[in-house]
Symmetry: C2
Subunit: 327 residues, 2 copies
């Protein structure tokens, strides 16, 4: 068991049960992270395993069980009332199954049932990772206090989630807020999802790099072709790198404006690796919004960077669990 | 006072108060319609005036007051518990004001306050006309029994509304569901709203006709250039007319698919004059959805014609009023 020294030792027992403690799981294609999170958003205990993403279903599940066992070794475990899972999608919260694109061994995998068994029968809430990040930003981040918000993760893919009327809106299967697969270019290029002209096809990190390379941008001597490398080139004045970010920002702006027209949001919170480019992304994003979001009820929409960082998945899973149980 | 013989004489008093009776107002650029609507969706009393759309604010309001006075002359008036208004937009339900594009004399006009005064202090609920049509379809039409639905009106403009988690989702200002101004063509032509590439710019009746004319379609000897005339030509095999409907359907499909990705709907209900084209519109619309709506959680989306017809505005206004008061 590892305690998180940044948030204090796991000595809650001495002061009685920890208020609103829940078990949080953040399941992605690279790592499986777990934590015990208190009612204030403090991470009391952490555990983590690499995701054996190319292995069979039982092997992946064993990594989840190892994370849970490590958390269960904490004296705080007994205080935890519920389990929240934020998982790479697609998920099916209605059936309790997941089919993460990056974990091919899990297809319609009954994750909720298995986690419930491994967690001593506690109630389990499952949401997609975009919804989890949104729950975190609404609880503790840039969307705090906003009753109608869209949160986006712009990274290898483009995900997101919605807060409507002051509450998380995961949708019936836990996938709502999928801004990455909104169509913003109806005659556009085919997207990996099977559609075409999706936001993700224009704005994700790999697509941003691909477009820069196709238009003649070349990486430096280290060969780094990440979106961060394209951002560094843009910051240094490279016009092709800059144009690729502008096109990504335009697609994000169209998707955010379409979201605002459809469900009336007043803030869009953008996180993920590509958002790390800062003003290289946010400046053209604000210009794009000014040109697309023109109706009276969407005109005051603001766009800001996310605040919850790398713990967004864990905090969001905790928030989703807390939302469906008494704190 | 006119009674509606199709739904029986206004003799409710003889049987005691009419269950769930509300006052409904449907305010558009052409006419102002009013009704007393019972809890089953029966229209007991009707009144109507042409909209003096080019006159000043007080003159337009007088037409509304005349409609209300005619309804108030009915012996059923005293049974009506609340007032619902569906108005041409934009509306601001939060502030109780309307600024209908087609009624220039009303800008930030305090319609809720004025109607409340004219209706003896009854509580007043205001929604946009797309939201009203959605409330009607959810209550009595094709969206009945669906917990997550998008309803569209494809006519001179393209409007719409949302049902989420089993309830009407008007949004904080009553404008949610504005699918007509979702961006589906991020490099597309400027739209009247100030944006570009909106669904309405590609799919509304006037834009459908304009595109057919630009591509060489010519109306018959009667000079009819309505969307219905283009539909008739398409039905007779005219390839240009057919292509214009296919393009409109493609834009609607992109908007509906984007909506499904964002909020998880399982049905889209399409009404309005352009939907009167039937399979000329619906066949390419279904093809378009099959190509854009490919994610697991949106793949089973169906698209069907609206059922509530010309009374959708009144029935929807009644439903919106009923939703915010005890029936």
């Amino acid at each position: 068991m590892q305690t998180d020294s940044a948030t204090g030792p796991a000595d809650g027992l001495a002061d009685g049960p920890v208020e609103g403690l829940v078990v949080a799981l953040d399941i992605g294609g690279t790592k499986i992270a777990g934590a015990l999170v208190d009612g204030e958003g403090g991470i009391r205990v952490r555990a983590q395993r690499p995701t054996p993403a190319r292995e069979d279903d039982d092997t992946v599940m064993r990594a989840v069980e190892d994370v849970l066992a490590e958390l269960a070794a904490s004296p705080l475990w007994e205080d935890a009332g519920a389990v929240g899972i934020g998982s790479a999608g697609p998920v099916d919260a209605h059936r309790g199954t997941v089919s993460p694109v990056n974990i091919p061994g899990w297809r319609d995998y009954p994750l909720v049932e298995r986690v419930q068994k491994a967690a001593g029968g506690r109630p389990v809430t499952l949401v997609g990772d975009g919804v989890a990040m949104t729950a975190a930003e609404h609880w503790l981040g840039a969307a705090r206090g906003h009753d109608n918000a869209l949160c986006l993760v712009v990274s290898t893919g483009v995900g997101g989630g919605l807060v409507l009327d002051g509450r998380l809106h995961p949708g019936p299967t836990g996938n709502a807020g999928h801004i990455g697969h909104m169509v913003v270019d109806l005659d556009g290029e085919p997207c990996a999802c099977g559609g075409r002209g999706c936001v993700e096809r224009l704005a994700s990190g790999p697509n941003l790099t691909r477009r820069a390379l196709e238009n003649g941008w070349r990486p430096g001597p280290d060969g780094d072709v990440s979106a961060a490398a394209v951002a560094a080139a843009a910051r240094a004045g490279d016009p092709i790198a800059r144009a690729s970010f502008e096109r990504a920002a335009q697609a994000l702006a169209a998707g955010i404006a379409a979201t605002a027209a459809l469900v009336e949001i007043d803030i869009a919170v953008v996180g993920g690796g590509v958002a790390g480019a800062g003003e290289i992304l946010f400046a053209p994003l604000r210009r794009g919004l000014a040109s697309y979001a023109t109706l009276s009820f969407v005109r005051n929409l603001t766009v800001v960077p996310a605040l919850t960082g790398t713990d967004a998945g864990l905090l969001g899973a905790a928030a989703a669990a807390a939302a469906t149980t008494a704190r």
